[in-house]
Amino acid sequence: MKLLRFARLAGLLVISMVFAACQSQQAAPWLLTDISGHMPDLTFRLTNDQGKSVTAPDYQGKVTLLYFGYTHCPDVCPLTLAHLHVVMQRLGKLADGAQILFVSVDPARDTPEALHAYVTAFDPHVVGLTGSPADIEALTKRYRAAFSREPDKAGGSYDVSHSSGIYIFDAHGKARLLATPTDSQDKLVHDLHLLLSPGGAT
């Protein structure tokens, strides 16, 4: 398990180095990491926070921000969603063309109902997605987003360590940008503005 995690980590590092090399060769308009052509198109089969089975085509037509997390995460996940809420507010009317998919990596506790209460507390553009462990793992593996369940604590609660990147897809489901939690709201607003503007970069 450790080795697998390390292999994924090493893989991610190599990918980011390749991106860095590519970016230096062209005057890209992006402030975030450009992953166009380096990550597969958005594909999944999950259940939304209304309890409905959904697939990626159901979410085409909007710029999509994909983020993995879980509701029993009191610190980093809410911080990221609160940041994205501010970003959506700053985008104003353009935000109508965007959606945030919050995919649970803790399907045992994150039922559609629990996810619904959680995501609506942050922003109307957020959709909660959960599903079978296999379907969720397929999606995290697709984007090389590692996650693992930590040992149980007293009282049966547990934490899930997880990748905190935000994957951004265009309205056609093509992978375009990768943001990390340390990327500023300014960068997100700048790049999403470009992606969302009519005749922009889509």
């Binding site: 590092l13 610190d75 609160a82 507390a121 934490d159 990390t180």
Partner: protein
């Protein structure tokens, strides 16, 4: 010999006066809780300024409003994987500051004893290594509050 014992006793009497209790040295500010729905674990944040000439060592925290209060730290590696772990103690250096802030040190609050809403104030008490205690009022803020 007798003289020394007397002197020692006198110094012990003075000790609490010379060395202020750790809790008294700490000035808390910007204390708030990010409230999450459905009684989910919540994060609490505060800035702790140590105005004393000696370190203050935070060893635990508790609140009548929560069944469990734990001192945690979120960490992340260069690849962006984030992780959380429990701390036994947190040192606020002499004349120094420790920030309990999102994605860093924080209190994890679990099992709220009664429903809370944004705008409420919750008192959380910090316990220090010398046995002194500091009660701090925390403002309850909505889930999507910016720091």
């Amino acid at each position: 010999m007798k003289h020394h014992a007397w002197l020692f006793g006198f110094m012990m009497l003075l000790a609490p006066i010379v060395h202020a209790a750790q809790a008294d040295q700490i000035k808390p500010s910007h204390a708030w809780i990010r409230l999450l729905p459905a009684n989910l674990p919540a994060g609490a944040y505060v800035t702790l300024d140590n105005q004393g000439a000696s370190a203050a060592v935070l060893v635990s925290a508790n609140s009548a409003a929560y069944g469990s209060v734990m001192l945690h730290q979120s960490t992340s590696d260069p690849a962006g994987n984030s992780d959380m772990h429990m701390l036994d103690r947190l040192v606020v250096p002499a004349h120094g500051q420790v920030l309990l802030a999102p994605a860093s040190y924080h209190l994890m609050l679990q099992q709220a004893t009664h429903p809370l809403k944004p705008g409420d104030t919750v008192e959380i008490t910090f316990d220090f290594a010398d046995g002194s205690r500091l009660a701090v009022p925390f403002l309850v803020r909505p889930a999507n509050a910016a720091d």
